[in-house]
Amino acid sequence: MIELILATILIPLAALITGFFIPGLERKVQARIQQRIGPPILTPGFWAILKFFYKEKIKPNSPMPRLFHSLPIIGIFVMFFAVLFTTPDWWGVNALGTVVAVVGLLKVIEFLFMAIGSFSRSILSVSMPYADQIKGAVMKGEYRRFFEQQSVIRAFKMITVGSFPLYLAMFVPVVLVKSINFSDIVQFQGFDASLIYPGGMIDLMYLNKILSLKPILFTFPGMLAGFVYFIGYIMLLNEYPFSIEKAKSDVIEGPSLEYAAWARGGYYLMRESILFVLSSVFITLFIGLPPTLNLPLLLVHCLLCLIMPILFSIVSAFSPIFTFKQIYPVSMGFTALGFLTIVLSLLAVM
């Protein structure tokens, strides 16, 4: 029981600490590609949040301000649960340590972006003067849409088409292992549960054990699935080139525009936790190293979680924003690749 409580507290904490570094790393990598110095590593992820928490609280112009403000907090908790479901201590709790459960939580996160947009009415949308309306003209048959609502429609489209590749890739290990349980998936890759509680001492034994893992990522279907997961990961994060939801040039940051002061800090925290969790789920599924209470293993897990954000920041640095004209075919292509990978996995286990 004590292990369960410790894991519930310490693993989200580790996720949070790692998350503080991720935005800074992203910015640093992109800045280096662009031959700039870039901000200090901790500034975008950690100091920015502190700054936002310190600022004067602002009441949003939302129809349901409290719910609107609480959405990032809900997002943070949802993401922490997603990472907890992959930890060995939680595998036994109500059988939640399954891929299906994590997929469900990720879907909640996708929905949260829609809800954030729906509940926000930013000052730029509301107060923008329309000369013909000021004069009393009625725009018959026209529907005036807020910036955020435009983003909501985009978020909805992304939920329907954009997230397929990620979920398909997540089910490749399930097919290969013939189980939806994380415990079976990591065991299949050589993870030894007895490593979890030696007390957190750094020992070469752990290194040997980590090196002796046989990750699904290094199999042919695993590699393909890893690639598909990576593209789905960028899509789910709404990052370049799939950042249509917050395309600054036309909808001005979309749903997050209304967040200010501590609420924006909360929104940043949610983004950081998503960044960590998606990487963490990948490491658990495809490398077979779940987040555990064991300090060296947890450290390795957290370090591996930094690789994917670095890779996506490189991709983002070299890509423009896609409109749906480009997103649809790209998404369909990767969905097809995901299906192909599942078929290959089925053939491999038959």
């Binding site: 992109q30 429609i153 080139p241 249509i244 040039s249 036309d250 409109t323």
Partner: protein, 371 residues
């Protein structure tokens, strides 16, 4: 939005079905400020119309006076003016490429364009000593401090040879990037007929196949061999490519000018400022045609100065070009004409807080009589 204008898009799903543009906040009142000023003092203010193509405004204003008073300009001065104008075109086009790629969401290409621009700014600095307002032309030539001596000549030649290669590489990188091309190809199409109808100026019009380049008509450019870049598709891709190719042509002109820079004085001071009737001058600025007109009174003070910049018609034509595109492409289309609102908005008339409609006759009388 990078410029103070409002583009109102009417969309069905994500597709633009109509567009309405409103230009507003900037009004510097430069035409009014210049009224009554001595011409040599007043013209320098024209540089403040724009921080990007400042030289061309000063040159055109000066040119209008020189045309009106029939002042001869030494050939060396003409060459230096051309060199400055083409360097300015280079840096303006590089800003455009940076802006366009930024609107595309391609930050890296945006940053690289700005890095390239720094090299051009260095060249402008070497000649004029300034990075923004160069103050090179004066009535009758160019300022003596802007003469190109041996040191400047060797610096310019060395740096220009490297710049030529860099711009070529950058253009190739844009043209060969399939992700960039997927965004810009086929979006924001402005046909040749529409370009003619809306009098779309400069490279924006030329990207739609409307081959008007005032440089080919200007005596200052007669000695230089360069191509007018005319493209046929009229889409965002062509507007980007046109600027990239024009940048290479500009380097070509500068190289020729440096190779054959004539010796002699850089200014003619033997003229007399006197009453001048209405005089006009048209010039090819980086964004397109600029018009300047002014007259002088008997003491050489400015009367009824008027300036027209290319953005007004270029941006108006984009209202048509963006219809049928995705919303995100719409913003790119707006940016693709290289709008410069700082130099475009000329007048706002407000009387007792109410909108006032001015007739054509009233406008003419205002222009003649001084606004």
């Amino acid at each position: 939005m990078l410029e103070p204008y409002r583009a109102r898009f009417f969309v069905e799903d994500e597709v633009i079905v109509d567009c309405e543009l409103t230009l507003d906040p900037y009004h510097k009142g430069i035409e009014r400020i210049m009224e009554g000023m001595p011409v040599h003092k007043g013209l320098i203010i024209t540089e403040r119309i724009c921080g990007i193509c400042s030289h061309i405004h000063l040159w055109n204003g000066t040119r209008a006076v020189e045309r009106g008073l029939k002042i001869n300009v030494p050939e060396r001065a003409d060459y230096i003016r051309v060199i400055m104008a083409e360097l300015e075109r280079l840096h303006s086009h590089l800003i455009y490429l940076a802006h366009a790629t930024e609107v595309l969401g391609h930050e890296t290409m945006c940053m690289r364009a700005f890095t390239l621009r720094e090299d051009v700014m260095d060249l402008l600095y070497i000649i004029s000593g300034n990075r923004v307002h160069y103050a090179v032309p004066i009535i009758g030539g160019v300022r003596p401090r802007c003469d190109i001596d041996d040191y400047r000549m060797s610096e310019l030649k060395t740096r220009l040879s490297k710049l030529d290669v860099k711009i070529g590489d950058y253009a190739n990188r844009i043209i060969n990037d399939s992700m960039i091309m997927s965004r810009v190809k086929g979006s924001g199409v402005l046909t040749k007929e529409e370009a003619e109808k809306y009098a779309t100026p400069g490279p924006t019009g030329r990207a739609s196949g409307w081959g008007v380049d005032l440089r080919k008509k200007m005596k200052e450019y007669k000695k230089f061999d360069f191509n007018v870049i005319i493209l046929d598709d009229g889409d965002n891709k062509d507007r980007v490519v046109a600027r990239a190719l024009e940048s290479i042509e500009s380097v070509k002109i500068i190289k020729q000018a440096l190779e054959s820079l004539p010796s002699g004085p850089v200014s003619n001071r033997s003229f007399e400022l006197k009453e001048m009737k209405f005089s006009t001058s048209y010039i090819e600025a980086p964004r397109g045609e600029i018009y300047d007109s002014l007259s002088l009174d008997e003491t050489g003070r400015i009367r009824s100065y008027q300036n027209r910049t290319p953005t007004l018609t270029a941006l108006a034509s984009m209202e048509v070009a963006c219809i049928g595109d995705q919303l995100t492409d719409g913003m790119l289309t707006m940016a693709s004409c290289d709008p410069c609102l700082a130099c475009t908005n000329r007048a706002i008339v407000v009387e007792n807080g109410k909108e006032k409609i001015i007739t054509e006759e009233e406008v003419k009388s205002l222009i003649r009589g001084g606004l």
